[in-house]
């Protein structure tokens, strides 16, 4: 059920050919992360790439659109362990409705000017997803008719899913608490006692 990571280059992933075809068609770069095909495209071909995906590659189903805030400094949670380039990565996942192929299209947006044309003309369902990304990450979608907040009050300041946005409850009470500071068991016998040795809070 679970498969090995795509990093092992000795075995070709069954989705490799499909990923390469998509990348070639839209002029992007394909990668396969744990059975998920991701195709990186430059922001200026964003709409054209998704149009091709819909019209030529049969990826007619619009699954979702969102973003990742890649930051060196994070106000909440833990930072990413590798060196990251400061950017917003915009993701849009589309799929077919026959054999179950799906592609995550990805493009990088500058942090100081996160602007990109809207996808509404290609996939009507992008409307709400772009509103959400606008609200949560502050990404501007050019040509979107109504970028009003979906969830938060109109007077809300800030973009909550940015890594620079603190979580008030964590400011008041730091994390991890006393029960979560146990060291990772060092493998071997201790690491595998079965389910009875689960998390202390269980």
């Amino acid at each position: 059920m679970t498969s090995s990571p795509s990093e092992t280059e000795t075995v070709t992933h069954p989705l490799q050919e499909f990923a390469d075809n998509v990348a070639a068609a839209v002029g992007g770069v394909a990668e396969i992360n744990f059975d998920t095909v991701k195709v990186k495209v430059p922001p200026d071909t964003w709409v054209a790439s998704l149009t091709k995906a819909r019209d030529e590659l049969g990826l007619v189903f619009f699954s979702w659109l969102s973003a990742i805030d890649w930051s060196k400094d994070v106000e909440v949670g833990d930072p990413y362990p590798l060196e990251v380039e400061e950017r917003y990565e915009l993701l849009a996942t589309v799929g077919d409705l026959t054999v179950g192929r799906r592609v995550v299209f990805s493009t990088d947006l500058q942090k100081d000017l996160p602007t990109i044309p809207t996808l509404i003309g290609v996939y009507a369902g992008a409307d709400w997803h772009e509103r959400e990304a606008h609200e949560m990450f502050g990404i501007e979608f050019e040509g979107h008719p109504n970028l009003a907040n979906l969830y938060l009050p109109d007077s809300f300041l800030g973009n909550p899913l940015r890594k620079s946005f603190p979580l008030l409850s964590r400011e008041v009470k730091p994390w991890p608490g006393t029960v979560d500071v146990e060291a990772m068991p060092g493998g071997g016998d201790e690491a595998a006692e079965g389910p009875s040795e689960e998390n202390p809070e269980a």
Binding site: T2, G77, Y80, R102, G125, M136
Partner: protein, 396 residues
């Protein structure tokens, strides 16, 4: 009779300002409304008997799970995702846990996978039974509710017996499942399997569910009023559904034979024999009927799984404190409401770096402005109800 001069002047002014054309009225439905399954507001412009420019206003149930999961550990996130679609809480856990297991490269024991599959299908049955109950109720038929809820209790009791929770099982662990039976007591370390008799009781319950489904079908499918209110109403063409991301039974009702259980490998569905029911016209009736047919298929899957469930451990060997190595993946599953998926970015620590939650109902109700354009006001409820959404699944 002496007329008050002021009153005469007032009446004459009033008659001048009366316009002969009809005015559009703005109709507000919600936020609290019995038919909205949560807190949803609709604002519609009503011209005569028809509704135009319908604007759904969501966000009343927004709990910020995507942000919260960045400061929670993986076992804690499981408790959050239970509460997304609370009518089928169990099913929400699966794609999240599978995403973490994929990045960890964990092999889940077969018995655990079978148990996950059985309980997921039970969650689907209980979710669809709620729809069997609530949809005719919204159209004015109260009787099916009693048949459907009686069976739903049967299924939920069994779910509760295994997991300890009716709505929020929190039953999956990275690497397997954890039966609640005996947990917290001195027997905790001894009993590590399903409660005694669970499989037999489930088999009996499934037979009863099938009987009830037949009864409900006879009640509803033979009701002329329900047929008149649902057939040909709220037709959703497959192309429109796809471009809005409408998934699950709503998509299949429009004739698209696409089920993630057939194409994804998050649970071993390929081992079982089942059909994917589709509708013909994509109207309200098809959306109701497809779900009814899906209950029968879920029962089939459960019966086969009970026959074939292997013995063995319920958990892979995992460390006490689980840290998922850095990496990203998207895992999606066929939930009762449609495609539910998680884009997980793990950072090698105890919690996610980013967790995008793709919930079915959010995309399913984004179709509302399109599908409600120009419909009769009483059909608003008929169409909205047929989409079977849960507001927790919309707002997350």
């Amino acid at each position: 009779m002496v007329l008050d001069q002021d009153l005469v002047r007032h009446l004459s002014e009033a008659s001048v300002s009366v316009e002969l054309e009809t005015e559009d009225m703005t109709l507000n439905i919600g936020p609290q409304h019995p038919s909205t399954h949560g807190v949803l507001r609709l604002v519609a412009r009503v011209d005569g008997e028809r509704a135009f420019d319908v604007k759904p206003v969501i966000g009343y149930m927004h709990r910020g799970y995507e942000k919260l999961s960045e400061v929670r550990t993986y076992p804690q996130v499981t408790t959050l995702v239970n509460r997304i679609d609370w009518v089928s809480g169990y099913a929400n856990e699966i794609p999240f846990i599978v995403a973490a297991e994929k990045i960890l490269g964990l092999e889940v024991p077969e018995r655990a996978q079978y148990i996950r599959l059985i309980l997921t299908e039970m969650a689907r049955i209980s979710s669809h039974l709620i729809f069997m109950a609530s949809y005719p109720l919204e159209l004015g038929a109260a009787t099916p509710l009693f048949f459907a809820l009686r069976e739903r209790e049967r299924v939920l009791d069994l779910l509760e017996g295994v997991t300890g929770g009716r709505f929020h099982p929190n039953f999956n662990r990275i690497g397997g499942v954890k039966p609640a039976y005996g947990s917290g007591s001195s027997t905790r370390k001894v009993i590590q399997d399903l409660p005694a008799g669970f499989l037999t009781e489930t088999r009996e319950a499934m037979d009863k569910v099938l009987e009830a489904v037949d009864e409900i079908e006879a009640l509803v499918a033979g009701n002329e009023i329900i047929l008149a209110r649902t057939k040909g109403i709220g037709i959703l063409p497959p192309e429109v559904a796809a471009s809005y991301g409408v998934s699950g039974p709503n998509l299949r009702a429009s004739g698209v034979k696409f089920d993630l259980r057939k194409v994804e490998d998050y649970l071993p569905y390929h081992l079982f024999d089942f059909e994917v029911p589709v509708g013909e016209n994509g109207d309200c009736w098809d959306r109701w009927h497809v779900r009814l047919l899906e209950i029968r298929q879920s029962v089939r899957i459960i019966q086969q799984a009970i026959d074939g469930i292997p013995s063995g451990p319920l958990q892979a060997k995992v460390p006490k404190v689980i840290k998922v190595p850095h990496g990203e993946t998207y895992v999606r599953a066929e939930n009762p409401k449609g495609e539910m998926g998680y884009y997980l970015v793990a950072n090698g620590n105890q919690g996610p770096y980013r967790l995008k939650i793709r919930s079915a109902s959010f995309s399913n109700i984004s179709i509302l402005p399109w599908i409600l354009e120009g419909v009769l006001v009483p059909d608003i409820i008929a169409i909205m109800g047929s989409l079977d959404f849960v507001l927790g699944d919309v707002d997350r």
